[in-house]
Amino acid sequence: MSVAMKATLLPVPERLKGFDEVDQGFNLTQATLEANRCLLCDNAPCTEGCPAGIDVRGFIRKIRFGEYRGGVRLLREENILAGTCGRVCPTEELCEEACRSRALTNPIRIGALQRFLTDWEMEVGRRPFDLPPATLKPVAVVGAGPAGLAAAAKLREVGHPVTIFEKRGYAGGTLVSGIPRFKLPRDVVEYEVNLVRDMGVEFKLNAPADESLTPRSLLNQGFGAVLLAVGLQEAYTLGLEGEDLEGVHTGIDVLRVANGLEPDQEVKIGKNVIVIGGGSASVNVACDALRLGAKTVIVTAIGTPAEMDAFEEDKQQSLEEGVQFASRMRPVRILGENGHVTGLEGVRTEWKVPGKYTPDNMVDVPGSRLVMPADTVIIAIGYRPDTALSRCIPELETMANGCLLVDPETGRTSQEGVFAAGDILGGRHTVVQSVSEGKATALAIHEYLGK
């Protein structure tokens, strides 16, 4: 067996009936065959390629040697969200990119093997925890998303009492609200949130960071340090004419509705949907729109599907499900009648310099205006920090977009005792990157508090 084990995917008609997980994962036979393909390299590059620092070779060898319990131990040691990451990591850009099996046939499906082990653990039950007593200085973590959860677990693991303050009524952050259930089922997130809870981390839900819950007030309450892992809460818009029309939504609201959560503003998905985007989130939104009843969904992007900054797996899935792409197009205005969306006007674009797919390299093709009819337009071009945040922590240094400036080594902000990790630092964040930052910042806090 030398070629990678294919994923077992739910057939498209069944997928579109609801929000069931598309990838069915490996069964025992498939996992064994795939693990047997692993070269078990010296100085395994997959481990180097994992931002969370998982001993990839080690856990694959555990599968190969029939030692699943030890495999799960290796995963959880480095990544408390291993089941989540096994599903949502862009492995083709990380561990699998580095995989030396590529030189023979194709990379080992590391993410799927990781998921096999965490699914196994969910099925048979986890071992009891063995943690030191929480006798060190208490730490407050603001935000229960991936960075906050990973940091809280690590802080608790080294002996700090930890309290997570979460604005929403649920823990998980973007794992619950920003990633479709068909990619990451809610029970997987809940299982991993419960790991953190069972480690002894206290969760205070419905506790937004506002004027009454500032880093300063938390430090005054006796927390030795505060970690801001608040993520990006607000959707960017384009400032286009017609954005206020009925039938225009943000991507995050659509994702929330599809995940069974309350949106900020009411969402009604029509029959003909246009998603303005280009990243993985916009592609996910398009797939969710199909599940919410849309007949046709078109994603407009400044690049072709091959040029888009979306993960391969997400693009592949959307193509399978019938999402269409209006490539190299710049939206100009949203058209409407009687206050309701009727279409999108755009203009064709081309690249000034070939091979560079960024907005500043884009130029309109003269005379190429076009109108696409639609009854729903979804803007899914990314997130920015919560504007309430800058009001409650005006003393923190930020970038122009409101993201926090920190020391990249330690995650320390400009304010003594206040650290930050995750999406709020800006950049193109993945879940595993947030996990990595959460862990590193937790250890920096541990160091700061004198251990």
């Binding site: 060898r61 555990k62 040697f65 030692e67 131990r73 040691e77 071992r127």
Partner: protein, 402 residues
């Protein structure tokens, strides 16, 4: 750092009156040829090591390289064969290794393995092992590639009288130091050899050495593998292929005599180790798995065994030793009826039809294809022989009770 509680089981074993922190030790073989290799293995977590078999300084050790070739089946190495010899390092080097290792790792067990040609050399090697501080002595009487007993290709361990004689010499010089003969499975009745060496004063046993074989024939040169200038010779076979034979020998020794046994041959994973212990092994010696995967597999072995013991409610590895022996009965003692019937899980079946081919041509012709193309078992025709689950690539056939 693990966030999970480690299994609360005691992996330590007692053998030759010595305490081992786990059953896992390095066999006398290439991974124990130098101080540095054993040091790294001890750091990785092995409980002990039997240094590669050594000899007097004036003994000439000849080795033709390459000395290793693999036994491959459908592209996969199932075992290795070697035409290696005892160590090219003599007793002086091994004395140095024992001293350094015992000084650096006082709680790890270090044994020498010796090979003599005369009573005097066997006894001198024994005394020098004691002086160097070895914890016990393994007697190499079964190396298939260098035991020219009386000029014939016969091993000392194949002749009860010879085995008795040599072990007696060693015991006489050992001054109470435990003496462990390493047996060969290339015998008609291994228990009679075990009884002979016990009679001579052996403290415990190692079973077995590599198994006499011919690795393969190069069909271009018609020379055995590995090809040495167009010639080759019989080899010692090692690795996973040995497991069923090793289990059989351990079970025979477990039932037929009372010396403790260190299993040697064919263990790669904790599964193998646990099975060996079930049929009576106290220690698990490992060589080939280390040669293939590296010394750090000891952690996979220890962790897997510990979880297994815990899952069986056992508090210590000692509890497992011999637990399977009462279940091994003579063939006539088995109830001679059809106990099971094959059952296909269609949800996982690929419709490849391997089960149908095997049953039709090598079983009881009990399969047919249903209207959807899936294999279907005729329960009246099926004997429940057990062939089809072994050929199914999708692991979707199980033997269900009738």
């Amino acid at each position: 750092m693990s966030i999970y509680k480690a299994p609360d089981v005691d992996l330590s074993m007692e053998y030759c009156g010595l305490k081992f922190d786990s059953p896992f030790v390095l066999a006398s073989a290439p991974p124990t040829d130098t101080y540095e290799m054993v040091r790294d293995a001890f750091r990785a977590g092995w409980a002990g090591a039997i240094l590669k078999t050594t000899s007097m300084e004036d003994y000439v050790v000849d080795i033709a390289y390459p000395c290793i070739a693999g036994f491959r089946f459908q592209g996969k190495v199932l075992g290795l064969g070697n035409i290696d010899n005892i160590s090219e390092f003599h007793m002086d080097e091994m004395e140095h290794a024992v001293r350094s290792l015992k000084e650096e790792f006082p709680t790890k067990v270090v044994a020498t393995s010796i090979w003599g040609t005369t009573k005097e050399s066997w006894q001198t090697l024994t005394r020098r092992s004691i002086e160097a501080g070895a914890d016990y002595l393994e007697v190499s009487m079964s190396c298939p590639t260098d035991s020219p007993f009386e000029g014939k290709h016969l091993m000392v361990g194949q002749v009860p009288e010879e085995a008795y004689k040599i072990v007696s010499w060693i015991v006489e010089a050992a001054d109470g130091l435990p003496v462990v003969p390493k047996l060969t499975s290339d015998v008609t009745d291994i228990v009679s050899i075990a009884r002979a060496v016990k009679e001579a004063g052996a403290t415990a046993l190692t079973a077995c050495d590599s198994v006499h074989g011919l690795i393969g024939i190069d069909l271009d040169t018609l020379a055995p593998l590995p090809d040495i200038e167009g010639k080759g010779t019989f080899a010692g076979m090692v690795g996973a292929i040995l497991k069923p034979f090793e289990l059989r020998v351990l079970a025979e020794l477990g039932a037929g005599q009372d010396l403790k046994v260190a299993a040697s041959g064919g263990a790669t994973t904790w599964h193998d180790a646990a099975e060996y212990m079930g049929v009576g092994a106290t220690l698990i010696q490992v060589c080939t798995a280390v040669m293939l995967y590296g010394v750090d597999i000891v952690n996979d072995l220890k962790e897997g065994l510990a979880y297994f013991l815990e899952s069986k409610g056992m508090k210590s590895a000692e509890e497992l030793v011999g637990k399977a022996l009462p279940n091994i009965v003579p063939h006539p003692a088995l109830n001679p009826i059809k106990h099971a019937v094959a059952s296909v899980d269609k949800s996982r079946c690929t419709k490849c039809g391997r089960c149908i081919i095997s049953c039709q041509d090598g079983g009881h012709q009990a399969y047919k294809i249903d209207t959807d193309g899936y294999p279907e078992v005729d329960k009246d025709k099926c004997y429940g022989c057990g062939l089809c689950p072994e050929v199914c690539p999708a692991d979707c056939i199980t033997m269900e009770p009738r």
